[in-house]
């Protein structure tokens, strides 16, 4: 410090010194030595310019080679405009874990969640979520505990939109029909076990309520057909709960497909890789291995069963319903639906010509119907491609979601990574000249920017496989479920058709029913397009 003070004092003198080329009569040699850093800095500057030029050239050559120089990415209008139109009053049918996430995405959190967010400093981020101009005014759940959780969530005043958000009373409905009969509910969110979905959505449409329904759309062909025709003949907005395509990466992947960067795609591989009891839907026990709360007094069991065959009350069935085919299609309904939607949103492949499924219960040998190892092959001769689904609940080795084309493949996760094929026809010259290296990603999309990041480092791969729960828009982390609900609400207010609309839901429903039927009947099932029947 002392030296520095001295240095400051002599500031003027040394300025003179520099100007004269001699510091205060400093010998020329001393001055030259003092300036020794300058040429080194000069060399560094020169090298930086050279490298920068090289990088820019290489990037633009690759981008040009791929025809990506003219891509326009839609710049999302997220957070730029105020919510317009009238307040939409929502009712929740079913208020379990998923409903908690949905209500958070709508701007409503349970006081306990607010507290824990406060503790880990993430509350502010959530409060920045766009205000959607909605109020949750109805809760319907057959379980008192869940219904009460829903009521206090909907009534919580700490939320995006702050003081401006209206504070409407929240009502509990004993049955979903009671809710559908209430003219004070504009739209419903269905987050029940799957066996209720089609019936509730159909009745809601008849009652003139807009519907946001979690997957699966329907478990049986007749109810799917009825759902489809009812929605088609109504003026309500139907959105199926596939939020992952809201990720900005999907918009970018869409451009890749449109520009035919991958060449002809003949194979798409989708997977599920889990290895936990929770992931295998053993959910009726708490952390200590004791049964979770709930009994026949607090749960309206008959209403929970609905149209499913009667069985005596079981806490296992109540929490871990996915394990039984009476309530859903197992991995096909819970996980493949997301995969199918991702692929169908990108390629519009629709209903397959044939499906062949196989698998078994190899690891989780409890009382379940659903296989823990399941593999389905969907053939699309009309599009000259095969869609594979391979799900496993006893190994978490990541296998990703890969689109395989003749010229390149795309691994689509939280990031889109495109790697040229070493035997590609289109890129043969670029590979030969060294411009494109088939051994490493050719381009990848950074979800943080609407910009193409060509020739990326290997580390990109490590980030890519992470969970698709949030995306980044204009530098902000945003929940994709929030975006999906927002799209639905925008369509309700301004007209238009959301991404996961009834056509997509119908195609998905048929595809899943075919896959499930194939597993049960241990045979290949086909779609009869002319008669619109599964054979």
């Amino acid at each position: 410090m002392k030296e520095e003070m001295n240095a400051d004092k002599k500031d003027n003198l040394s300025e003179e010194g520099k100007a004269n080329g001699q510091g205060e009569g400093m010998p020329r040699r001393t001055v030259l030595k003092a300036l020794a850093g300058l040429p080194v800095a000069g060399i560094l500057g020169f090298e930086i310019l050279r490298k920068h030029k090289y990088d820019v050239n290489k990037r633009s050559s690759v981008v040009k080679e791929l025809g990506l120089d003219e891509i326009d990415f839609p710049m999302p209008d997220y957070g730029t405009k105020k919510s317009s139109g009238e307040l939409i009053r929502l009712g929740f049918i079913g208020f379990g874990t998923r409903a908690g996430q949905l209500s958070s995405a709508l701007g409503f959190k349970h006081p306990d969640d607010v507290k824990s967010r406060q503790q880990n400093n993430t509350l502010a981020e959530w409060l920045q979520q766009e205000y959607l101009n909605v109020a949750v005014t109805g809760i319907c759940d057959v379980f008192d505990l869940h219904a009460e959780k829903g009521l206090s969530t909907a009534a919580n005043e700490i939320r995006p939109g702050g003081q401006d958000a209206p504070k409407l009373p929240v009502k509990r409905y004993r049955t979903y029909r009671e809710m559908l009969d209430d003219k004070d509910i504009d739209a419903v969110i269905i987050a029940t076990p799957d066996h209720h979905h089609a019936r509730m959505a159909t009745e809601a449409a008849r009652a003139g309520k807009h519907v946001y329904c979690e997957k699966s759309p329907a478990l049986h062909l007749d109810e799917l057909n009825e759902l489809y025709s009812t929605i088609k003949n109504s003026s309500i907005v139907y959105q199926l709960g596939h939020q992952i395509t809201q990720s900005i990466v999907f918009q970018q992947a869409k451009e890749i497909i449109k520009k035919n960067i991958l060449g002809k795609i003949t194979l798409i591989e989708t997977t599920t890789n889990r290895n936990t009891a929770e992931g295998a839907w053993i959910r009726h026990l708490d952390a200590n291995g004791n049964p979770k709360p709930g009994d026949e007094k607090s749960i309206d069991w008959n209403q929970w069963l609905g149209t499913a065959p009667y069985v005596p009350f079981s806490i296992d069935r109540f929490y871990s319903w996915t394990k039984w085919f009476d309530y859903d299609h197992g991995m096909i309904g819970q996980l493949f639906t997301h995969e199918y939607d991702a692929v169908n949103q990108l390629l519009h492949i629709g209903i397959p010509k044939s499906v062949s499924s196989s698998g078994g219960i190899y690891h989780w040998k409890d009382n379940r119907d659903m296989p823990d190892s399941l593999h389905c092959v969907f053939e699309y001769p009309q599009h000259e491609l095969t869609l594979l689904y391979s799900g496993n609940l006893a190994s978490s080795r990541g296998r990703g979601r890969v689109f395989m084309g003749h010229d390149a493949s795309m691994e689509l996760g939280n990031n889109a990574i495109i790697t040229a094929d070493r035997n590609s026809t289109r890129y043969a010259d670029a590979i030969k000249s060294g411009l494109i290296d088939p051994g490493s990603p050719m381009i990848s999309f950074n979800p943080d920017a609407g910009q193409i990041d060509a020739v990326t480092s290997a580390s990109e791969k490590y980030y890519a496989s992470r969970g698709l729960t949030t995306t980044t828009i204009n530098g902000r982390r945003v929940d994709v479920t929030h975006l999906h609900l927002r799209e639905w609400l925008n369509c309700i207010r301004n007209g238009g058709t959301p991404g996961a609309n009834i056509e997509m839901a119908f195609q998905e429903g048929i595809t899943c029913i075919m896959a499930h039927k194939s597993y049960l009947e241990k045979r290949t099932v086909e779609w009869d397009e002319a008669n619109r029947k599964i054979i």
């Binding site: 030296e3 520095e4 001295n6 240095a7 400051d8 002599k10 500031d11 003198l13 040394s14 010194g17 520099k18 510091g23 205060e24 009569g25 400093m26 010998p27 040699r29 001393t30 001055v31 030595k33 003092a34 300036l35 020794a36 850093g37 300058l38 080194v40 800095a41 560094l44 930086i48 920068h52 880990n120 400093n121 993430t122 502010a124 981020e125 950074n446 943080d448 920017a449 910009q451 990041d453 290997a458 580390s459 490590y462 980030y463 530098g475 902000r476």
Partner: protein, 168 residues
Amino acid sequence: MNQYKNYTKLQLIFLVLLRFLVGWHILYEGIAKVLNPQWTSAGFLSESQWILSGFADWVTSNSGVLAAVDFLNTWGLIAIGLSLLLGLFARTAAIAGATLVFVYYLNSPPLIGIEYTLPVEGNNLIVNKTLIEAVALCVLALFPTSKIFGFDAFWSGRNKKKQGGEII
């Protein structure tokens, strides 16, 4: 200033070389971040483990704080790197640099039992190149050369003259 007298020519050459190399490295780290508009420390911080992971979480979960950290980090690196290269306030820069680089080390030390998803260059056990660079900066602070090979010479020129002119 007296310690300059004790450096042999070779010692001085290698001390200056070390200063140039470390300065070059740090300066380019800073400039590379300026040249990449998408760069953010969020990736590095989200990997943070051991004693600073709580701090890193706090930074990454507050976009304002993250932006401030990114700015200070980038321009701090550039200032430190440039100071070392040119030999301008080189001792202060070396101390600041040692502190900053040591903070990087504390965010991701190669300790037994701590594993990272990102691949690292080479094999490290407790000691890695980041730690070595931090210590090298301490050495540079203790064995200054900027008053001969650096702009700091201009500040001390008069002193030296009084003390008997040039040293080497």
